[in-house]
Amino acid sequence: MPRSSTAQPITDTIPVPEKTPMVLNVNGVEMQLKVAPWTTLLDALRDHLDLTGTKKGCDHGQCGACTVLVDGRRINSCLTLAVMTDGAKVITIEGLATNGALHALQQAFIDHDAFQCGYCTPGQICSAAGLIAEGKAKSAEEIRELMSGNICRCGAYPHIVAAIQQAMGQS
């Protein structure tokens, strides 16, 4: 992106710090990794651990494609520094199925055709898993409100709500 000539130049005068060793429990597996302070959890998952199911959409916390569960809570991994999650338990879309059986939400998304391009889907499903765990949404209206942090530009929202209702009924 072109920068204005009036803006201060971005310099590299700050020495590059040592990468920090850290531990993450990802989908039940203890992972050791070394990250720079500015590596986001999203980049650590995708680029360090090759877990590319979690998607980078806007990279600014506005679209929800990067949603994962950290210590059981849904968060935007793009706005989370990996180093700050040292010792945490992370669940990504790759960790939802058990012994090859799809998670109820994954099956419900298939049953209800709750996606078109599929790019937002891992974030939608992880967010819905967080939503169900929170237990605050009962009606379709409440599901829509509490899923508003996940944008679907294909516009699959009615089917997403139906899929979540199905999975909620099973949980």
Binding site: P2, R3, S4, T6, A7, I10, D12, I14, P15, V16, P17, T20, A36, P37, W38, T40, D59, H60, G61, G64, T67, R73, R74, I75, N76, L79, T80, L81, V83, M84, S127, G130, L131, E134, K136, S139, E141, E142, R144, E145, L146, M147, S148, G149, N150
Partner: protein
């Protein structure tokens, strides 16, 4: 995002020591706003001091019947806390009107107070902005200013404070507890944020190297007659064009006490004690609410694209006071405004 160093604070005193030792360092807690601003190169700290592991996560009852909320209590934990739901539902409602579930799971109480404006020019480092680069000029005054301030703005800055939570905290007369190199002090909520004047780079009256440790609510929560009415371009997950925290204490049809604060209209949560005084002792009816709204907006000033906010605020105040009087707060999931 530029390269930076990362350290953790061991306790509050250590956090204050670390930030005092490095003028280009910043604290990080939830990071929802700071990381975004760093990705945009609006914020370029040389060091982040991680305060997220400090023991500031509790919500405790105070001796005088209020609540002390640790600065690191997450927005979602605060909104859904049983004591907030029972005694301060206006605060819970305001929190749930803001951001998304994911962001509320990350964002801290102290960080919500310290979030920066969402003025598009503040975010765009290719444009002048007095808040970002003092003296460079305000791009919004003669630019696109649909989301900007109608109250308390200056020639230097017409940005608004983006928080919903803070509007309710202002109405509830909260106190902000901070610790700095000189020790601890408490700041009344109305004195915490400031108007832009000639120094819009300063959002708050925090002194250098102070850290927010808690927000304290007094005993009175106005749990019976309140509302938080937020009007925005989308039904969810958007900043307020205008929001209204309204709370009443009624004796029959008469208003015994009132609180009224607005979001999305000024550089700080806009609480107007004159408008509140005008409500006291009067009948809780349309005429009274309209009079108070006019009083609150007496000095409102629109710019090229945001003059609509003045009427929007006027009608919003009347509607919010009516909702409060009826004991029918705005639902944050059913967005129909009744």
């Amino acid at each position: 995002m530029i390269n930076f160093q990362y350290t953790r604070a061991n306790d509050v005193a250590d956090a204050v020591r670390q930030i005092a030792a490095d003028p280009t360092a910043k604290f990080i807690a939830g990071g929802t706003n700071l990381i975004d601003l760093m990705k945009e190169d609006v914020e370029r700290p040389s060091r982040l001091i991680d305060i997220s592991r400090l023991p500031l996560r509790t919500i405790e009852e105070t001796a005088d019947g209020g609540l002390r909320i640790g600065a690191l209590v997450r927005n979602s934990d605060l909104a859904y806390h049983p004591l907030i739901e029972q005694r301060y539902p206006m605060l819970g409602s305001a929190i749930l009107a803001g951001a998304s579930s994911q962001l509320r799971n990350m964002a801290s109480t102290g960080g919500n107070l310290l979030q920066r404006t969402r003025c598009y020019y503040f975010y765009d480092i290719a444009t002048p902005c007095n808040k970002r680069e003092p003296g460079s000029g305000c791009s919004a005054i003669k630019g696109i200013n649909r989301i900007h301030a109608i109250l308390g703005a200056s020639e230097a800055c017409i940005a608004t404070h983006p928080s919903d939570m803070c509007v309710a905290l202002a109405a509830l007369d909260a106190m902000v507890h901070v610790t700095g190199p000189g020790g601890e002090r408490a700041i009344a909520f109305s004195e915490f944020h400031r108007l832009p004047g000639n120094t819009p780079q300063r959002d708050t009256n925090l002194r250098p190297n102070e850290i927010v440790t808690a927000v304290e609510l007094p005993a009175r929560g106005f749990a019976s007659n309140y509302t938080y009415l937020k009007i925005r371009d989308r039904l969810s997950y958007a900043f307020a064009l205008v929001s209204i925290a309204a709370a009443l204490e009624l004796e029959g049809e008469t208003i015994k006490d009132a609180r009224l604060a607005l979001g999305g209209v000024a550089h700080k949560p806009w609480r107007d004690t004159a408008a509140e005084a005008a409500l006291r002792g009067r009948a809780a009816n349309q005429a009274t609410f309209t009079y108070a709204a006019g009083l609150l907006l007496r000095d409102a000033k629109g710019y090229a694209h945001n003059s609509f906010k003045i009427d929007l605020a006027r009608r919003g105040i009347v509607r919010a006071l009516a909702q409060a009087a009826r004991g029918a707060p705005q639902s944050q999931s059913n967005k129909k405004i009744l």
